[in-house]
């Protein structure tokens, strides 16, 4: 069984974790095209190399980011999501979306 290093709880059996999908940038839902939105929701980049993924340590309810190599399955790095800028998650930050619409 693989070991995953949780930034909060340290190395643990992978069975303690839940996969949360790839870290993707959401296009601005207010202005993107249907196609851009569909690509965000349905399409997954299935290339080789290092990918950023969401992982949850279920017993502590802690979400973090793991950078994993898709060929070797080696987890290069794990860290708290706060280390990523909000722009990594959103093309247009949600707060701005709200203000722009109001």
């Amino acid at each position: 069984m693989k070991i995953l290093n949780c930034p909060l709880n340290g190395p643990r059996n992978i069975s303690e974790f839940v996969y949360g999908g790839e870290v993707k940038q959401m296009p601005d839902p207010a202005s993107c095209t249907d196609r851009e939105w569909a690509e965000y929701v349905f399409y997954h980049n299935n290339g080789t190399g290092v990918v950023r993924e969401w992982w949850l340590h279920a017993p502590s309810g802690y979400w973090f980011i793991a950078e994993r190599h898709r060929v070797s399955d080696e987890v290069v790095r794990t860290y708290d999501p706060s280390e990523l800028e909000q722009s990594e998650f959103f093309a247009a930050p949600p707060a701005d979306v709200q203000e722009a619409r109001q």
Binding site: L8, N9, G10, R12, N13, S15, E16, H57, A58, P59, S60, Y62
Partner: protein, 227 residues
């Protein structure tokens, strides 16, 4: 705490387990009843391998950016890092679960009455939220020389003393349910406190009994810890 014997089904607050441990004698706690003793040599049993339902003992917690400050203002020591625990002289155990989350496990000396007092203090205005751990979680305490041996049959985290010394905390999976395991000491005895979803109270009690059998484990009451 008062020293009166009570019937556990008569109190307003009840541990979900009281029918399973009906052969014990019960003492009253601020709101409920707790198993005091099963037999005369409970304390020897507790030093070897005992299991005690502490769910009726008061506990609380706070989460938020200012939770650590709030804890300090209440006179509690703050563990430096997540997944560490400190025990006050008065018996309360401070458990740090993350950068911003802290639980206070009441002392057996007063069944957590002091924690009740602390919980009444208003939390500072912003970003410090009291937690629901009194009700959301059940509390079982495994005691004695075989804590790590029992846990090795249920849990994939190494809980032997060299890797899980007193003061260690693990948030992990125990017998396929999520649990917080705290290694601390009560009355000089090594104990593992297990805090887990209250719905699994009966389930985990039975699982632990089964795992303890090879070490001659048995339920013990709080009197085993000099209460």
């Amino acid at each position: 705490m008062t020293d009166t014997m009570v019937t556990p089904g008569d109190t307003l607050a009840r541990s979900g387990l009281y029918r399973k441990i009906a052969d014990a004698e019960f003492l009253s706690t601020p709101e409920s009843a707790i198993a005091a003793s099963y037999s005369a040599d409970d304390s020897e049993q507790a030093r070897n391998c005992g299991l005690c339902d502490l769910t009726p003992v008061i506990r609380t917690g706070w989460r938020g950016k200012t939770a650590a400050e709030h804890l300090q203002s209440l006179g509690y020591p703050v563990p430096e890092n997540p997944n560490q625990a400190l025990t006050k002289d008065s018996g309360e155990t401070l458990v740090r679960l993350s950068r911003t989350e802290f639980w206070v496990l009441g002392s057996l000396q007063d069944m957590g009455t002091a924690v009740t007092e602390a919980a009444r203090q208003p939390s500072p205005g912003s970003d410090c939220y009291p937690l629901f751990c009194q009700d959301s979680h059940a509390w079982l305490m495994l005691s004695g020389d075989h804590c790590a041996g029992v846990m090795a049959k249920l849990c994939g985290v190494d809980m032997r003393a060299q890797s899980f010394p007193p003061g260690s905390v693990a948030q992990t999976s125990v017998a396929r349910i999520n649990a917080i395991v705290v290694h601390h000491q009560v009355a000089g005895t090594d104990v593992f406190s297990l805090l887990f979803d209250a719905g699994y109270h009966a389930y985990l009690w039975d699982v632990l009994q089964d795992a303890m059998a090879e070490f001659s484990g048995a339920p013990v009451g709080v009197r085993a810890f000099g209460i």
